[in-house]
């Protein structure tokens, strides 16, 4: 356990938060994608974080994405008989992406990312100061 592990901890958080941001971007981009590559409607994705031991003794707690889960709630039904993917009743299944949830997620991920960048910067300043010890 030393100050240099701060870099690993903060880096793991940066990576995890950017994956979360990536999932949010996918969801927002596909908010209106009625058809997916497998013929199914797109489902909103969320990342799940878990603690990851960091450092030689594994006492520091970094973070990683343990898995990506798909939201299994029912798709949004939109009445649009002209749509090529409309069913016999004239309804189209649209993705279950909630843009409000996604925006909140995006802001939260962005703030956490900034916090970790600041942590890393501070650790960098302290370590370069330590190199001047005795001068």
């Amino acid at each position: 356990m030393s100050l240099s592990d701060v870099f690993n901890v903060a880096a793991s958080a940066l990576s995890a938060q950017s994956q979360r941001l990536n999932a949010t971007a996918s969801n927002m981009a596909n908010a209106e994608s009625a058809g997916g590559p497998n013929g199914e409607v797109y489902k909103a994705r969320q990342v799940v974080f878990e603690v990851m031991p960091v450092g030689q003794d594994g006492q520091s707690a970094g973070v990683r994405v343990s898995r990506v889960v798909e939201d299994d709630s029912a798709p949004r039904r939109v009445y649009d008989p002209q749509h090529p993917l409309a069913d016999s009743d004239g309804y189209v299944n649209m993705p279950n992406v909630n843009p409000i949830d996604e925006m909140v997620n995006m802001i939260s991920a962005s703030r956490s990312y900034q916090n970790n960048v600041e942590v890393m910067n501070t650790a960098k300043t302290l370590m370069s100061k330590l190199l001047t010890l005795g001068n």
């Binding site: 356990m1 030393s2 100050l3 592990d5 701060v6 901890v9 903060a10 793991s12 958080a13 995890a16 938060q17 979360r20 799940v48 974080f49 878990e50 603690v51 960091v54 003794d57 006492q59 520091s60 707690a61 970094g62 973070v63 939260s108 991920a109 956490s112 916090n115 970790n116 942590v119 501070t122 650790a123 302290l126 100061k129 330590l130 010890l133 005795g134």
Partner: protein, 133 residues
């Protein structure tokens, strides 16, 4: 422990421990969004007292011949002084990291680190000026 060691020892331990505390706060900030993560902190005063008293576990070099030096390194970890933070605003996912507190603690740990560094630097300068006249 020789005189030089003894002079520098206290601030050196303080420097190490504030580095360690900084790392714990960094872990908390990194895991601010991890479900069920328990926020931790170092009781700095107790950790420093333990390290000074030599009560926390120490790591020794292995000696295989009688004239090997038993280089005892003071323990880096005051792990017996680790405490859990309580969440002022409990969250639904069981996470107890409060970002405002952690930001404040991180700034505090940084100041402690810089203070220890400055004191250590001053002591080294004192010794140097005594040596050089």
């Amino acid at each position: 422990m020789n005189t030089l060691d003894a002079t520098l020892n206290f601030q050196e331990q303080a420097l190490k421990l504030s580095g360690q505390r900084q790392e714990m706060v960094a872990s908390n900030i990194a895991n601010a969004d991890t479900p069920n993560y328990q926020s931790v902190d170092l009781n700095f005063a107790e950790a420093l007292k333990n390290v000074q008293a030599g009560t926390s576990a120490t790591v020794a070099l292995q000696t295989t011949a009688p004239n090997h030096l038993p280089a005892l390194t003071a323990s880096l970890s005051g792990t017996d002084a680790v405490v859990y933070n309580t969440a002022p605003q409990p969250s639904l996912d069981g996470n107890t990291v409060d970002m405002d507190t952690q930001r404040a603690q991180f700034a505090e740990a940084t100041m402690h680190y810089q203070a220890a560094f400055t004191f250590l630097n001053g002591q080294i300068k004192t010794i140097m000026s005594a040596l050089q006249g």
